[in-house]
Symmetry: C2
Subunit: 606 residues, 2 copies
């Protein structure tokens, strides 16, 4: 038995036929038809069936049927009449499973026996049409809001056409223990719906209707959840049912591909779990590679990168020469490497265009990215001496994978430069900050966590003068690779796009600031009021604060006494740099100072 994948049409934007085509192209085995999508479609049920057949998509579920059980016996004939018309419709569609939600509106009888009896009678009717009923406890059901109770009722109904549907959202959002799923016979679990979600504290109905996410984008432990379901011997599809205000608006094929990626990632996690039952085959096994070990290089692309060259020189980077075959220059300091790329860069203002990572097994990592449908990029930055695999992240950033054993073996492709100094104050790249529009933010979290095996770290809202910037860190556990993914506010006045930056690590940020100043760097100006506040927040010696103010250096301290000393450059195009020094285990990013930085950048644009 092979695990099959499915997705509810409500996850996607567009018309029903758009959605079916996108689901097929993204590689799903089947779909759930969400009733309003059919009702709003001019295509007849027979046309939908024929289209699905041509696309080789199975139609796995029709949903939802509402307010079925727990009603008074007076009302029940109306339910039966309505159900019969829907069973007939399902026959026309060739769908054999109907999702029956627990009653939220018309239930008046809080009695398992009554609900079971009504479900049994619906089941008897359904059987005549070849239809099975998958009863699901909605988290906000009037009386039935727990999957364990839904199963008790289905068991009591005792009819071959009555089983349950399990939905990770309804179970995990309520904090119900999924381990008890294993007590349900696998052949009575008629359907499995999966959604991830962020850790929010809000009413569960709004949370469900607006903020579900694809697996890997939120904080549910879905692999463990699926493990419990598969342990029962469940053989149906893993199906995504994700209500999300953003995905309803984004391009249908792209969202379908993102959804499929989330399942490939999840299937692979599931395949590694211990199971009680025979393990279903997983069609795709991903190479088990860890996160990158280090940053390899950063690429700034520009028609004219001259100002960036100047700034790197001021920051103490050594010019390592021109690439032997392309209009590309290399700057290094410690393990920090910055490539200035003027190739195919007509009309580009300086932009952070690519990030290279060092990994233990580039072939395996590239294979993993490929299986997760990361779009490949033809390498054009380096000559054919070094062949780095490359993929495009959701925001367009190019991601390169190099062998850590080669230790940047591509550097000698650059000629005519100078030797790096021994006494460099910058040692490497601490983190890279990438901005995303609202359309691709969740997708980016999934991309970096699945393709690069990074994990979600802290998140933060920072107030800029033009709106809140939401920031989500993805990182390796050891902290050697950290990306801060920023969700830019809608209304911003950035001619070259929302600024992105590279933070270089330093063993002595004050000395680095002094040295940079002596080479002519003008750091981002920080207001005097910031330093007055710094004195109030932290008991720092006056001379130290005075020097920080002279150098535009900022400071933060954590509750354990670890501290963070850093400064920013001005922005060129949409790129700026930061120099950071962590001490005493400080693990943050100076969030309190980010608002000051954003205010200063806003002023520089005015």
């Amino acid at each position: 038995m092979t695990l099959r994948t499915s997705i509810a049409t409500v996850c996607l934007s567009g018309t029903l036929t758009d959605k079916l085509s996108a689901c097929a192209e993204a590689g799903f085995d089947g779909v759930e038809i969400f009733e309003p999508d059919l009702v709003g479609s001019p295509a007849s049920p027979e046309e939908i069936t024929a289209l699905a057949r041509r696309l080789q998509l199975s139609l796995d579920l029709y949903q939802p049927f509402r307010d079925a059980e727990g009603v008074s016996e007076d009302q029940f004939p109306t339910v039966l009449r309505r159900a019969r018309l829907k069973f007939r419709l399902m026959q026309r569609l060739g769908i054999d499973t109907m999702l029956v939600c627990s009653n939220v509106a018309t239930a008046t009888v809080d009695d398992d026996a009554v609900s079971a009896s009504q479900l049994r009678r619906l089941g008897e009717e359904a059987e005549a049409y070849g239809v099975r009923l998958a009863f699901e406890a909605l988290a906000w059901g009037r009386f039935v809001d727990d999957y364990r109770r839904a199963w008790r009722i289905a068991e009591l109904a005792d009819h071959p056409s009555v089983g349950v549907c399990l939905d990770s959202f309804h179970i995990l959002s309520r904090g119900h223990d999924p381990a008890e799923i294993e007590q349900i016979p696998g052949d009575k679990i008629f359907f499995l719906q999966l959604a991830d979600a962020p850790a929010l504290r809000m009413d569960v109905l709004s949370w469900s209707r607006h903020h579900r996410l694809f697996p890997g984008e939120g904080s549910f432990d879905l692999a463990r959840f699926v493990g419990h379901v598969l342990s029962t011997g469940y053989q149906g599809p893993m199906s995504l049912e994700v209500f999300n205000d953003t995905f309803r608006q984004t391009e249908v094929l792209r969202t379908a591909q993102q959804a499929r990626r989330s399942l490939t990632w999840l299937e692979d996690l599931v395949a590694r779990l211990p199971l009680q039952a025979p393990r279903p085959d997983v069609p795709v096994r991903l190479p088990d590679v860890g996160p990158p070990d280090a940053f390899d290089f950063i690429e700034v692309k520009a028609e004219d990168a001259g100002e960036v060259d100047t700034m790197l020189r001021q920051l103490g980077f050594a010019f390592r020469g021109h690439h032997r075959s392309k209009p590309v220059r290399l700057w290094t300091q410690g393990r920090a490497r910055v490539v200035c790329n003027e190739q195919q860069a007509r009309e580009w203002a300086p932009t952070l265009a690519a990030v290279g990572f060092q990994v233990a097994d580039p072939d395996a990592s590239a294979g993993r990215a490929h299986l997760l449908a990361a779009p490949a990029v033809f390498r054009r930055t380096h000559s054919n001496e070094q062949n780095l695999a490359a993929f495009r992240a959701p925001d367009g950033t190019e991601v390169f994978l190099a062998d850590i054993a080669d230790d940047a073996g591509w550097v000698p492709e650059f000629e005519g430069g100078e030797e790096p100094a021994d006494d460099s104050l910058l040692t490497g790249v601490d983190h890279v900050n990438l901005a995303h529009p609202w359309q691709s933010f969740d997708e980016a979290v999934l991309f970096y966590s699945s393709v690069l095996s990074l994990q979600s770290g802290s998140s933060q809202d920072v107030a800029a003068p033009t709106g809140l910037v939401h920031s989500q860190v993805v990182r390796s556990r050891d902290g050697k690779v950290r990306l801060a993914l920023n969700l830019a506010p809608l209304a911003f006045e950035h001619p070259h796009g929302f600024p992105q930056h590279v933070a270089f690590s330093s063993s002595d940020a004050m000395a680095a600031a002094r040295a940079a100043r002596s080479r002519g760097l003008r750091p981002l100006p920080i207001p005097g009021n910031y330093y007055d506040d710094l004195v109030a927040r932290f008991d720092l010696p006056t001379w130290q604060v005075v020097e920080m103010q002279e150098l535009g250096v900022l400071y933060d301290r954590d509750d354990e006494g670890g501290d963070f000393t850093h400064f920013y450059t001005e922005t060129i195009g949409s790129v700026f740099f930061e120099v950071v020094q962590r001490r005493g285990g400080y693990d943050g990013y100076g969030a309190a100072n980010a608002a000051v930085r954003l205010a200063a950048q806003h002023l520089r644009r005015q």
Copy 2:
């Protein structure tokens, strides 16, 4: 004593100096300085003070001071040191009141006596700097989360420099009874902060940080709240403190004007309340006019309105002629009047540009709009025989006010038309549907509720193929005037703007559909699947559903058996029409059918 108005700088976008200028221009008496705005500003405290003086703005409050009380005695010297530096800063700013929030982070001692003792010692210190401390219970305070407890602690502190700050959000969001405010002596209430909020069920911290609104935009009873505060003899300002993700991004002056409008509206409500204490003067008293009694006319503006003329003819409207002096035509049916305006309409696709209302006292209504800073529009639609006051709503729609006693006395300005038929099937305008971008949606709710005295009705999210459309009804109590304000999704593909429409009322929508069809109208095509579902939802006779399907008529029924029969036209430019028939007290808008309509419109654009 006159009520004074103030606003926290955190409500607005931009730099601190931008914010001060906008607050002054919008007519506020003072501001609260939100500390991060000062910290991020290059202007020194002395410059801010001088700017405020030139702008005639008082600096009313410095905020916030966090984690002041409930700490261990070991920690308290650090608190005192920090406070002293802030008192010194406040001296430089010339601000005499500091907001001290209840401790959320460092509190370890849950004891009123300890908190009171620490506040007293802070107060003694503050007094030397001429500073008063306004202690506020945050809704999520670690131990102190209720204003009644904050007052007990302040009372126990028993120091002239220690009082309380009351914030409507922290009190009403928790459901605490504001009536007990009257037990606090007015001179111990050092500050009053106001925010409205929508009725959401989410954790109170996120609700507070992202979703506060200006008074009149949400669902709190702020007039009653302020009444309780003024009954104590409170003489300080009414100050807005509204954290809102949208207002942080919108144009600063416009948001400041919106904020000021909300206070003018609220002050006027407060001035009508019975109070226990001497009533403060309210600088602006609004004319007490009710909502409009009826729609007067609808204007469609277009470079070429010919297609609209054709459609109105098909809907049974009578052509009443050309305006005697302008390129404007009038169509009427029953009390529905549609003006097609081709004046100054170069390159305009047909657009719903203006809505006229009939009111009992146009001068009073216009005076009210003027006092609420509704931007006046110079009338250009009609000749000088009828001089209608006009204002521009936040989305740009022009709002005209006519005297109901004149009963559309401007109609004779149109000449060369025909007499209306006696047997018209449409009787008037049922509702008008106006689309708003995210920037102006909340502002529009306030505009219509304050300027036109309409009240908020039902709200709804409807799924379109390109995203959710949020819809908020504002209406007169009697239902004669209803506007549906739509918040359009971000990503939509409307070349002429998100469609808006006028729904005409009919005594017989089926007959109106038949008649329109006979005159050549092609209604918006509704899918066959909709009618299959209709049969399942409602037990309607087959012949009736067949005729509905032929005519593109939709149907809804409420729980009390009232029903709604309606159909839509195609869209021309960004305008379409609907014909609706309400029976048996049906009071909705066919929300279940709106999704089908949006899907059909989406298909027509493809």
